[in-house]
Symmetry: C2
Subunit: 350 residues, 2 copies
């Protein structure tokens, strides 16, 4: 693997990465790495009897993010979260991460180090380790790519949903999409990783249109945090089929249905929407339900599971509908049933 950032201190940067990754290692390491950074490939041993998992996710400047409102730390943190979310969505735990970064040659070393700090902080949160990667110059814009390897006692696929299963989500939807709209309004990086002090908010608030200035930092902070630094949700026990909501509820539930060869009926008024999102959406003149149905990047888990008579067992998630033999149906607050179509981002995955 090649490293080509043509700037003073490139070797020092590599030494720094190796040392920082090693330090995290000693603290949070699981002892599975036999050979880490500094060899041709990472060598590791996963627990015997478990199924190994691997997923890849990429973030491209100008496509997935805008450095106008993302700090480098947040980019690194988010890249880990979106990958770990895919591992959790299979019912597994993350173990090792491989991080690839292409950056314009004029990128400051401090900027790159901040990205790595975000990567290492998130890996620490999830219990994974940085085991390798690749650095390169990029003719224009940042490209971040990560592969996370994990394992599971029992994997949960998208294809296991059965007719009669309940359909659940792990938390409120649309917060991230609403946070993105707010960030675009502010058009400035929000250093939420260092707290979100009143004075910082006072400054940012001035960039907002008048109706938005009445929002409190307690309303705004969790919304933009959900977009900038999402935290992946740990998987529930007992799901028959699962995925993470990265591209919006409607599209993602349609994927689960397609892979399981079933249909779904969702009750609009059961879709969880946070009070803060309702408030911000009202100030923005947006429909909170539309944000919840089609807004992506919440990284809540969506899953099917047999309905239990024991309500406490269902309480682990929020029941929003049920699996039916075929068709995609939405029941509105007045009880009217309509078909819906999947809409949003598409992917190629593993």
């Amino acid at each position: 693997m090649s490293f080509c950032l043509r700037e003073a201190g490139e070797l020092a940067l590599l030494d720094w990465i190796r040392e920082r990754a090693g330090k995290k290692d000693k603290k949070g390491g699981k002892g599975i790495l036999v050979a880490g950074i500094g060899d041709d490939a990472a060598a590791f041993r996963l627990a015997p009897g478990k199924t190994a998992l691997a997923t890849t996710d990429m973030m491209v400047e100008g496509v997935h993010f805008d450095t106008g409102y993302f700090t480098p730390y947040q980019l690194g943190f988010k890249l880990v979260s979106v990958n770990v979310s895919d591992i959790y969505a299979m019912g597994g735990s993350p173990r090792l991460a491989f991080f690839t970064l292409a950056a314009p040659p004029e990128t400051r070393t401090a900027f790159i180090k901040e990205i790595f700090e975000g990567v290492l902080a998130a890996l620490g949160l999830y219990g994974g380790r940085l085991a390798g990667g690749d650095l390169s110059a990029s003719p224009s814009g940042l490209v971040l790519d990560m592969t996370v390897i994990g394992d599971a006692d029992r994997i949960v696929r998208r294809s296991g949903a059965r007719v009669g299963d309940g359909v659940f989500v792990t938390g409120p939807l649309g917060d991230s999409a609403c946070g993105l709209v707010l960030l675009r309004e502010m058009a400035a990086p929000v250093r939420i990783e260092k707290g979100f002090q009143g004075s910082h908010w006072d400054k940012l608030k001035k960039r907002l249109r008048r109706p938005l200035r009445s929002l409190s930092p307690e309303t705004v902070k969790p919304l933009i945090e959900r977009h900038l630094m999402p935290v992946a949700k740990r998987p529930p026990v007992g799901a028959s089929a699962m995925l993470d909501i990265s591209d919006g509820l409607l599209l993602d539930v349609s994927r689960l249905c397609k892979e399981s060869a079933v249909g779904v009926r969702i009750y609009e008024d059961k879709i969880p929407i946070s009070d803060r999102m309702r408030q911000a959406a009202a100030a923005l003149g947006l429909d909170p339900l539309a944000l919840a149905k089609t807004g992506g990047e919440d990284y809540e888990l969506l899953y099917a599971a047999p309905l239990s008579r024991d309500r406490r067992r269902n309480a682990r998630g929020i029941l929003i509908g049920e699996i039916v033999p075929s068709g995609l149906y939405m029941v509105d607050a007045l009880g009217r049933t309509k078909r819906f179509r999947a809409a949003g981002y598409e992917h190629f995955s593993g």
Copy 2:
């Protein structure tokens, strides 16, 4: 993982990838994939008792390659080879590949399919499978990234060289660098994957400066092929330390020495140089020895191994020197010893 290429047929492309990867699967599959493309993560089981390996390598347009002389098929093929080379350099075998591609939105579907055909052809050659990936738009230029997962009965690290070990390479050096110079002279894609007919060569030859036109296609073809579509070398048995020569002999041997905390003495006249490279270098006015010492991307393996009195055992590789307690020494054809310094590309690896 998100897919964002905004063009007609994006869904059709994803279906095509899934189907093509599945087909290769049935032919060459090793049965280790539990869940492949179409889920949140790939799920797999490696053979018990083996050590797992993972490596990542990236190719960026304008940095690692120029579409002026690479066909998309060759790009895909080479990306697999450079990753597999890292797995072989650890003494392992490749099993699964994850492929990430960022391409400008105007990229034709046929171009992307050709890249995938190259990826699948190379994976077929090495016995690996495409298990997942990610596709995205790129604001400018192609970015290809791959992670390959493999396994080994016994891994060979960079750090195991002992004083007295012989230093070996698996084949001639400098061919790839010489091929690159020829490609730059021709400044046109050479569809070497479809054979290299006389008529094609006759056309390309006209792009070359006069002294180069006398070169035969038998001389030129293996050189440019080594650059465009390198084939990774299977690892020898019994190496004490090993890496692949991606950034040039001098730099890569210095890495092996650094990780093993030893030195090396290399005999200049033992460094293998192919006749074809000597001929082409002469026509180009380049020093073949300099190409062999610092030219990258040959993907030959460089390794240390105990010297055996049985010459046949040493015959598996080409002996070019020996491990000494410290220092990097080169002995020239007249027997004069000089220190050398590592020079070339640097990396951050695993």
